[in-house]
Amino acid sequence: MEAQTLYEKLWSSHVVHQEADGTALIYIDRHLVHEVTSPQAFEGLKLAGRKPWRVSSIVATADHNTPTDHWEQGIQDPVSRQQVETLDNNIREVGALAYFPFKNERQGIVHVIGPENGATLPGMTVVCGDSHTSTHGAFACLAHGIGTSEVEHVMATQCLIQKRSKTMLVRVDGKLGKGVTAKDVALAIIGRIGTAGGTGYAIEFGGEVMRSLSMEGRMTVCNMAIEAGARMGFVAVDQVTIDYLKGRPFSPRGDDWERAVAYWRTLHSDEGARFDQVVVLRGEDIQPQVTWGTSPEMVVPVGATVPDPAKESDPVRREGMERALHYMGLTPNLPVTSIKIDKVFIGSCTNSRIEDLRQAAVIARGRRKADNVRQVLVVPGSGLVKRQAEQEGLDKIFVAAGFEWREPGCSMCLAMNADRLEPGERCASTSNRNFEGRQGAGGRTHLVSPAMAAAAAIAGHFADVRDIL
């Protein structure tokens, strides 16, 4: 048999039906549901008198709108509350394999709770009405975001209408230096290929650096695949994957476990498999990254200066840079480490897992936030992450450093709840998008790793975490 890529294996094992033009019906194993992109789908289903095809594929939670403090007061914003209650009612009516509602001890960001509960398993197709569904690709899943019409389509038919993507291998060779993390790898990749570089592609992340990352690090990289334009990114199964999954609530057990593991071990690209495109980076070349603009591709190493649009020859790009600098309140050629910040956000489906919090805590331990930093939010990705962090005493380290320790949720990643930037405020954020207004109208976001975010909180401006470690 011809050598296959991981993508081809995953794709062909889910084709239910294929038209002559290549349009295929793809079977969906796992459907993750949250409150923002599902109400219209449930309503559509009901209006058409359709029943969900397989409710045991559904794992649901409320995360985008939920507050991260004063849980005893419930959700104050009436519009947010209505959306969360709508999900409660819909799941009550329809059913699900698992539902982690607001205040449940396992509630959390949908992309954190899937893997931590073993609801995301290698070889699955995983969809969710959220673009960062690519996160689950870390487990060698075909995982991608879908729109609300597709949410309804999956509920009604357990399938999606799809066409095969082109394949891209992003290989990160060598080793990462001290203080360089999965987030820096993700940003460096986007800096290299651009935010549209992956459009139309499914990206496999490979190479020695990817192999050396933990599952949490791999999730961080796959999470950002969408910021490189690729709907999905994934990593082959290895022992790290299997060790992570063993014993999780929805992981297979007993004979099923052995059978599953035997299959999962086949989920890698075969020797000699051909990709439509190959991009190679060297781990040693990757420095801690900081974005300076309003698109994740506008990124530089922490030791660099803010780029100068005058040096850009393409007029549309130059204008984009000028507009971004204006929005960000920055001038060209400024050293990145001289940029002062007002707030710090450590959280989001990119960087809110236990290892992320540990990385930040290493920097925060025994130090205090700078006086010019008004607020440092630390928002764990789930109730389980929160509990684990508290068992390790990380919450105390953060609080002693003047950081705020919050309840889990999406929080200031997209500022749908009360956590947000005010106009003009500048934030070092571990989230994934630095678009205009993403963290609050007029807010200025710089994307960084958790360690770099903590270092900025302590210094009051961006700082090279390698000087602190």
């Binding site: 033009d21 019906l25 079977y27 923002v36 673009s131 389509h153 038919t157 698109s295 207004g437 109208a441």
Partner: protein, 212 residues
Amino acid sequence: MQKFITLNGLVAPLDRNNVDTDAIIPKQFLKSIKRSGFGPNAFDEWRYMDRGEPGMDNSQRPLNPNFVLNQPRYQGASVLLTRANFGCGSSREHAPWALLDYGFRALIAESFADIFFNNCFKNGVVPIVLPKAEVDALFGLVEHSPGYTIEIDLPTQLVKRPDGHAVHFDIDPFRKECLINGWDDIGLTLRHADKIKAFEERRRAEHPYYFA
């Protein structure tokens, strides 16, 4: 879904790369549990001078005179002309809902982000990719000729300019058929219900652990 066959419409230009779905419809409006009514908040942060919140009377809000879509000459536009990577970012289908509700039935760009592109077809909005040179030319024509309209002919896959110049565009044949007929995907897929059941049974037998 609304059918789309041909459209002769006023063109509005949005001369930017990487217009993301947060810009198309800011997150505070995603709290709605409906599919319609997003038009008045399309491009909210660029379009108004104040901060928009759900439930405001948008007709009373101060417009940003510098935002291109606020210019009188572009009122009533049904074709949006833009640059590369339009619709990047969040997968929210509220973005095409907002554009449709605003009045856009067709979008012309150098490229679109994948999920957004896909979401457009589910809502009868046609995203058309043209080469950069064609897009550049259209920006120039729109700028210099107030009231500039173009014709989009889906059956022949042509964008026709009033000066007679016509460009072919690519579109997936299945999507084209769905648009022309206004077909709903779910109904189409359920014609294969037996195949889906059979596939599911096979998969359950082979990989029972995915069905716990």
